[in-house]
């Protein structure tokens, strides 16, 4: 008789207690109400089930490998950080550095008109999106975030430049938390750059964005962690009526990294576009999930995600389009293309459609393919060496997606993609 299945090993979860949460709140500059919210989140965290590997969302990635190993209250400035300071985005309305264990460092531009941008608590949940990220990670971040900022953009504001947030994974357990609340008929751009991190670093990050009626928001999240860093980043965005949202992401760094981007089209006539690029190599494992949830009529969404996997690397994608029964006359489109640069590289693409009414137009496409040998032969017949030909083809594959990125974000992505293409050209990737 077969044995009964062994009980599933619960992955080690870092323990939380009130003393720790109080210390984290104090160090991060979280204001007095912060601890109450953290304690409530702790209850949710402890009740949250470990994500099931059976579900598509976690089929390819082990959540235990992304969780922090243990949590301590880091305080004070990290050691020498000068080398990690990425250049600030030209013309930024605000430049903000988030270091674990420190209050945010905020530099506002002189061009920023008074009252357009205010700093609010990152911890507050009122007004944050209905759409939850993965519960375990969301609750952990909410309880134990150790660096963060909340920003509010006033009704009718037009920020003179992007808000640039450099999120430093400078502690072994880095838990950044961002919140952006954009009022009605406003325009804002948030560029979130996830930097630093070394061996054994673990990041659990969450960003919540609320876009008021008639507003236009562009949000970029570019992850360029150092080698050895694992982590989970999630973005939840809620778009109000006639709001227009562009979310772009780049997943480049770290060892094992998952990014979840969820956008709720909550208001009638809202539009969302998600544009993403990933380029993984070596033993990297990149995992991207997107959700577009249509809750209102006449909403439209598009997703364009391109992934390149070289050497032993693996890129996985799950993309959900969910159209609720009341959301008539919606349009949704999802495209995911994957390019494999070696026999050992892998990519997975799982599109999921959940459509609860018939008056919608919805389509998706996914491709996974190696570089076309006929393209390489054509380029070789013009004198291009193998590496040079491959790097041209890869650059070309990414090009029309990169072209959709706002200039500053493209520069940021290219700072990472450029050297990788050069490595391919030299034959070392």
């Amino acid at each position: 008789m077969a044995e009964t299945t062994a009980p599933a090993m619960a992955p080690a979860r870092p323990a939380l207690d009130e003393t720790l949460l109080a210390a984290l709140a104090a160090a991060a500059g979280d204001e007095s109400g912060g601890l109450t919210r953290r304690l409530a989140a702790q209850v949710r965290y402890e009740a949250a089930e470990t994500p099931s590997r059976v579900r598509h969302l976690w089929r390819f990635t082990d959540p235990a490998r992304l969780l922090p190993m243990n949590l301590t209250a880091v305080t004070g400035a990290p050691g020498d950080v000068s080398h990690t300071l990425a250049p600030s985005v030209a013309g930024a309305a605000a430049t903000i550095d988030l270091w674990p264990g420190l209050p945010p460092v905020v530099a506002l531009s002189d061009d920023l008109p008074a009252g357009q941008l205010t700093v609010v608590s990152a911890g507050e949940t009122a007004g944050s999106p209905a759409l939850a990220a993965d519960e375990l990670f969301a609750a952990l971040n909410e309880a134990a975030w150790n660096t963060g900022i909340g920003l509010a953009v006033a009704d009718g504001a037009r920020l003179p430049g992007p808000i640039h947030v450099r999120v430093h994974a400078s502690a072994a357990a880095s838990l950044p938390r961002l919140r952006l609340v954009v009022g009605r008929n406003a325009e804002a751009m948030l560029v979130e750059q996830h930097l630093d991190g070394g061996p054994e670093t673990r990041v659990t990050g969450h960003t919540a964005i609320t876009v008021g009626d008639g507003s236009r928001v562009r949000h970029a999240i570019v992850q360029v962690w150092g080698q050895g860093t694992n982590g989970h980043l999630s973005v939840s965005t809620k778009a109000g009526a006639d709001a227009d949202v562009l979310t772009v992401f780049g997943v480049f760094g770290g060892d094992e990294a998952k990014l979840e981007v969820r956008t709720d089209l909550a208001g009638k006539g809202s539009r969302s576009e998600i544009v993403g690029v990933t380029l993984v190599t070596g033993k990297q494992h990149g995992d991207v999930h997107t959700t577009h949830r249509h809750l209102a009529e006449h909403t439209s969404s598009r997703i364009d995600f391109k992934a390149v996997a070289a050497e032993h690397a693996r890129s996985t994608y799950t993309g959900l389009i969910r159209i609720e029964d009341q959301a008539h006359h919606c349009e949704a489109y999802q495209e995911n293309r994957n390019l494999l640069l070696s026999d050992r590289a892998r990519a997975d693409a799982i599109p999921e459609l959940e459509i609860h009414n018939q008056e919608v137009s919805c389509s998706h496409g996914a491709t996974i393919a190696p570089v076309d040998p006929e393209q390489l032969f054509y380029l070789a017949s013009r004198g291009l060496e193998h590496g040079e030909a491959v790097s041209l083809v890869v650059g070309g594959f990414l090009e029309n997606t990169m072209a959709k990125l706002p200039d500053d974000v493209r520069t940021m992505a290219e700072a990472f993609v450029g050297p990788r293409l050069a490595a391919i050209r030299e034959g070392s990737a």
Binding site: D372, P373, E374, Q375, F377, Y378, L379, A380, S381, R382, G383, L384, E385, H386, E388, A389, L392, V393, G395, G396, F397, L398, E399, N400
Partner: protein, 268 residues
């Protein structure tokens, strides 16, 4: 031809192949597509190759350029040097060129970037931007291609004729020693055929050579080959001059099939 000129190592020969066989994978087996070809192109010569569909002309051309999916036996010579062990890009850098019957698209790579990289590879040195622009403008003008094509993606969404013009534009820029032109005239309208032929003639001179694969007399009237070969079932079955082209136009290939069969019969 004198014995010295039959020597593939003779620098008067820009190209030669000897006893060339080309095999493709066919399930577990191999299929022989090119079945023993000997060809010598002297510097300054233009050769034409005509043959029925499926006879192996494109296979021959691609194999000479070094296409990785073929297994090749025999010798390939370029400028008096063996090149059959070289990678395709090395053959290209030494001056071999293939104008594709079906040029592939490379989306996202602009014509300008591609041409600049090709030119640098062929010349072994980076080309200064301004000099490159000037050369490019001249070549575009010669080929009657709108300059806006330099920012288009390589062959992406190009019409058949536009692709063929860009192939010859590359021949003009890269100045190959020996060009394989695989049906560069197919699908061209009358004006485009003239432009393409003029381009080929402009790129040809006393120091280089070419092998032009075609089904039609029209381009040969423009290009005026010195030698015409008929290629059937993987072999050269007849070599002559323009009179051979006229005979093919009138009689098709069947009479040569019979002769080839007779020749083959007599050999065994």
């Amino acid at each position: 031809m004198s014995d010295a000129l039959l020597n593939p190592a003779n620098p008067a020969n820009v190209f030669a192949c000897r006893n060339l066989h080309v095999f493709v994978k066919d399930g577990d087996q191999e299929k022989e597509i090119v079945r023993g070809v000997d060809l010598t192109v002297q510097r300054g010569q233009k050769h034409a190759l005509m043959g029925p569909n499926g006879s192996g002309k494109s296979t021959l051309a691609a194999a000479l350029m070094g296409h990785p999916s073929y297994r090749v036996e025999g010798e390939i010579w370029l400028n008096g040097e063996r090149v059959d062990a070289l990678e395709p890009h090395e053959r290209a850098r030494r001056g071999m060129f293939l104008s594709f019957q079906y040029p592939v698209a490379v989306p996202g790579v602009t014509v300008a970037n591609f041409l600049r990289a090709s030119l640098a590879a062929r010349r072994g040195t980076e080309i200064p931007v301004r000099a490159f622009r000037q050369e490019l403008n001249e070549a575009f003008a010669t080929m009657g291609i709108d300059p806006s094509f330099i920012t288009r993606y390589l062959n992406d969404g190009f019409s058949g004729g536009e692709k063929k013009k860009l192939e010859i534009l590359q021949m003009l820029l890269l100045k190959p020693a020996f060009s394989l032109l695989d049906e560069t005239d197919s699908g061209l309208d009358i004006d485009a055929l003239k432009v393409v032929s003029d381009g080929i003639n402009q790129a040809s001179g006393p120091d280089n050579g070419l092998l032009l694969v075609t089904h039609y007399q029209r381009i040969l009237n423009h290009v005026q080959p010195d030698v015409v070969h008929v290629f059937m079932s993987g072999r050269l079955v007849r070599t002559g001059g323009m009179e051979l082209v006229t005979a093919l136009e009138e009689r098709g290939y069947d009479w040569l099939t019979d002769e080839a069969a007779v020749a083959e019969g007599s050999r065994t």
